[in-house]
Point group: C2
Chain length 230, copies 2
């Protein structure tokens, strides 16, 4: 991969043929009318948000590094940066100083946190709305002042559970309430984990954290079970 | 990995120390009182469903192959098979003949489809409720008669989009309606893809399918945009 410090462009031998007709702006050619939304990471979640913004006519600028998503980005016809959102110059050129918010849908937790750190430091006025891979990632994003962070498989898992309860003969309203109760309980548990995390030494090993998390989840689930009618 | 035909047990050198105190049943020791629910795949989605079932006191039997999830499975204290749900003997021993439903939360699309095929063939009476990785996986599961299949990041992506619209100043009710409209539109598009897929030669290359999917998505999103007030 040939990487230039500013652009982090993907290898031109790969990109060139695909980009000929795409509406590609270079981060070193700042744009007068910046989009109100920057989408960092154009995978499954980023694409859904982008399609909803598009349906409402809200312009966005997408930053994506994975060549697998290039076709989708390109066909979208929006402003596209094939850049690394973890670089402040790339973010600045994408309009981070004037954008109203960032959608952070980078799948890899470490990469996602790297972007969030740069935003917090360089563009502290830019609210970040994110997906997290799992609980640990969600906690990390919260620490990095991400305004909204939802675990990427959480909501679908709840819908699946509700359907499963229905399949077991639980009446619809009751299934819905059971899942809602669990959601509130689980989100409160996440808040407790967050408070606990901040009390801890920052360098606790992640394996230790996972064991603590498991114990906390099981204990707090038991409280919920005790409160739930069979 | 030492694999026995029946169990597909993970390497005993890895498993043995962990299993000593776990409530592990072997699929070759069929259980008189089978659980009403079999959970195949105990990753993020499977764990959420399991915790909700547990809160309601619904027994389940989990089948998992990934050693990363063993600790979680084990601490759960339920009946655990470290087995491959793609083998009918394993499923039978897990109680597939008497179970009321299967939760299929195997992440890898090919592996997930393999399990669904075995269930359809060997246990056609067993309703399957599943998560899908993406649209193609969702379509495949539908073909395999999976009763309920939700894309694993879809619902969280919609919630993220709703929060983003809120962050852009869109009034809450309007943001909620926009996202609901998009959801209905997207699910209808999936139905159209499904109908289209059945008309096609079964051996269309997947890259061709991806291009078709993209064109269909963009065209149908344009219809939605035309119907949506700015």
């Amino acid at each position: 991969m040939a990487i230039t410090p500013l652009l982090m462009l993907l290898d031109e031998r790969v990109l060139r043929p695909r980009l000929d007709h795409a509406d590609v702006h270079r981060p070193d050619e700042p744009d007068a009318d910046a989009s109100p939304v920057i989408i960092a990471g154009f995978g499954r979640a980023g694409q859904v948000v982008a399609r909803i913004l598009r349906a409402r006519g809200v312009p966005f600028t997408a930053l994506e590094r994975d060549p697998d998503h290039l076709d989708f980005v390109r066909r979208f016809g929006s402003k596209v940066y094939f850049g690394d959102a973890g670089h402040s110059e790339v973010l600045r050129a994408a309009g981070a100083e004037r954008a109203r918010l960032m959608v952070l849908t980078v799948g890899d937790p470490e990469e996602s946190a790297r972007v969030a750190r740069v935003v917090r430091k360089q563009f502290p006025q830019l609210p970040v709305f994110a997906t997290a891979r799992n609980r640990q990632h969600a906690l990390l994003l919260k620490e990095l002042c991400v305004l909204f962070g939802i675990r990427e498989t959480f909501a679908s898992s709840l819908e699946l559970a509700e359907a499963v309860l229905g399949g077991l003969g639980v009446e619809a309203g009751q299934a819905s309430r059971a899942v809602q109760l669990f959601r509130e309980h689980d989100e409160q548990t996440l808040e407790r984990q967050y408070a606990f995390r901040q009390d801890q030494d920052a360098l606790v090993q992640s394996s230790r954290e996972a064991a603590d998390e498991l114990r906390l989840l099981i204990e707090s689930d038991e409280e919920l079970a005790a409160d739930t009618p069979a």
